[in-house]
């Protein structure tokens, strides 16, 4: 399969995934209203009770909640793939002389578009709620790139989940069961040192913490250490591992 054919297959399928969202705009709520809701709930309901020495809670929260929301952005890929499997569309695609990975690269590419939309919506709401950037423009842009990279990595995690689960419903709950604790036992919503020792130990090595810390460094101008490089390394590593697993799973996918 030559690269230009693979690329064109990817675009055909990315377009399909985006069209799906345009056609059924209720799905769009997951990318817009849901993140807004989370920002508002955390800032105004929980925020007052959470101590974040050295930060306003809204400043502390926005980088963290962006990372969490972006990690869930790939859920449409899991849902879509599980549905394609169930409906027999994966059979059709696999019988065509197209790239073996395009169904997956197309969907994950479409996730980048919806993730960008989520970032824009959340930043707007965050700024209205009092968040302020305190970093050079180049760092802020690098932060946005990191968010998209991290979100892309989790699109591949979701691609794998979608292919591995028995139904669209199962794919959705599997994703949540896996990602919720991971994203909460991190520095995203509360300072890590407020947790019990066991959770603290986990939170400190959790890639979510590393990515959230990198985002705080890039958006709020605090010293980053190795977090930024670490965050990119984790994102690329997760993408590589799960892309390999997902493509392997896809090649053997059978109708259920």
């Amino acid at each position: 399969m030559n690269p230009s054919a693979s690329f064109s297959d990817t675009l055909v399928l990315a377009r399909r995934a985006v069209m799906r969202i345009v056609r059924a705009p209720d799905l769009l709520l997951a990318y817009t209203v849901q993140p807004i809701m989370f920002v508002l709930l955390f800032v105004y309901v929980l925020g007052g009770a959470i101590e974040t020495p050295g930060f306003d809670y809204v400043d502390f929260l926005i980088p963290g909640i962006l990372v969490q929301t972006l990690s869930f952005g790939g859920f449409a890929t899991a849902l879509g793939l599980a549905e394609d499997l169930k409906k027999g569309l994966v059979d059709r695609f696999r019988s065509l002389p197209m790239s073996r990975s395009a169904v997956l690269t197309g969907r994950t590419l479409a996730d980048i578009a919806t993730n960008s939309l989520s970032i824009a919506v959340m930043l707007t709401v965050g700024l209205i709620a009092g968040f302020s950037f305190d970093a050079p423009v180049a760092d802020i842009l690098l932060g946005l790139l990191l968010l998209l990279t991290f979100g892309y990595a989790f699109s591949w995690v979701f691609a794998f989940i979608g292919l591995a689960s028995s139904s669209p419903e199962a794919a959705q709950s599997l994703g949540f069961i896996f990602l919720f604790p991971l994203s909460f036992i991190s520095s995203a919503f509360v300072p890590v040192d407020s947790m019990p020792a066991v959770l603290q130990a986990f939170a400190e090595v959790n890639p979510f913490t590393i990515v959230v810390n990198a985002m705080r460094a890039l958006f709020l101008g605090i010293p980053a250490g190795n977090d930024v490089w670490g965050a990119f390394a984790w994102s690329i590593g997760i993408a590589a591992v799960f892309a390999t697993l997902a493509v392997r799973k896809y090649k053997r996918a059978v109708v259920r």
Partner: protein, 290 residues
């Protein structure tokens, strides 16, 4: 057109999946259109079309978009996917619904679109895996006519079906498979001939007279008569005079006749004889599996 006919679990779909490069074979080798299904899978995929048990079309796109997408994925030259989509939509009587979301299509329309998608690249080999399962009689008939038109154009078709009438009507040649093995093959007529000759069906006025009827007809039966639900069936050794003879014997025995007829075996009978169970059992099994 070759039909694979067999009860559920016989291996029909597995065979199609292997030949359509979706599933690796446990052993042995297979060639489709001269290409090895495993070693030349990529080349082979541009030579085949697959229409499955499920109407594999995207509900969230229109009919036209579905066909165009498939055309692009076959890497047809620029402009061709759209042109081809229009052509197929017209041929499959979907032009009016072309710009409607497939989610609003009826079952028959989806199957037609699915079949159209399989034909986008004019593949020389077409796999139809139970193309009419679940369709109403009118839609089945429509789809059969469409399939017949394509075979007439020179496409090689491998059809799997659990409907005997479908195989009978569409296929030049039928392979009956059971437990993953071909247990009989030939044309519909050849399969019927394997089952034997003429058969006499007698519907009795009263079920209570079954024993008397069997006793009366035994002398002219080629094999012992079988009785079920007031219908007596038996093979007869010769056609001439069989009905008159049977009527006379039943009259003498005082058995009332509601209906009597002489027929050639159906493919149904062939299926029963070859697999050891009737086609209806197949349906029951299928229900049981769900």
């Amino acid at each position: 057109m070759l039909a694979l006919l067999g009860p559920n679990g016989a291996g029909k779909t597995t065979a199609v999946r292997i030949l359509a490069t979706l599933l690796p074979a446990d052993g042995g080798s297979a060639r489709v259109a001269g290409l090895d299904v495993e070693r030349q899978a990529t080349e082979l995929r541009s030579q085949i079309g697959l229409a499955g048990q499920y109407a594999a079309v995207d509900e969230h796109m229109t009919g036209a978009e579905n066909l165009e997408m498939v055309g692009r994925l076959y890497h047809l030259p620029k402009g061709e996917p759209r042109r081809r989509a229009g052509e197929l939509l017209e041929r499959f009587d979907l032009t009016e619904a072309a710009d409607r979301l497939v989610g609003t299509y009826s079952g028959g329309m989806r199957r037609r679109l699915d079949l159209a998608a399989a034909l986008v690249a004019r593949p020389p080999v077409l796999f139809l895996d139970e193309p009419t399962t679940g369709l109403d009689p009118r839609s089945r008939l429509d789809l059969w006519e469409t399939i017949e038109a394509h075979v007439a154009e020179g496409t090689t078709v491998l059809l799997t079906t659990q409907y005997l009438d479908e195989a009978d009507r569409l296929a030049d040649s039928i392979s009956v498979i059971d437990h993953g093995r071909v247990i009989a093959e030939g044309s519909s007529d050849e399969l019927k001939d394997q089952v034997g000759g003429e058969r006499l069906d007698v519907t009795l006025e009263s079920k209570e007279e079954a024993e008397a009827a069997i006793a009366a007809l035994a002398p002219i039966a080629a094999e012992p008569p079988a009785m079920s639900d007031g219908l007596l069936r038996m093979p007869v050794s010769r056609r001439r005079g069989a009905i008159a003879d049977a009527v006379r014997r039943l009259n003498d025995a005082g058995v009332g006749i509601d209906d009597i007829s002489l027929s050639r075996p159906t493919l149904d009978d062939a299926f029963l004889t070859l697999t050891g169970h009737a086609a209806e059992d197949v349906e029951d099994e299928r229900e049981g599996e769900r």
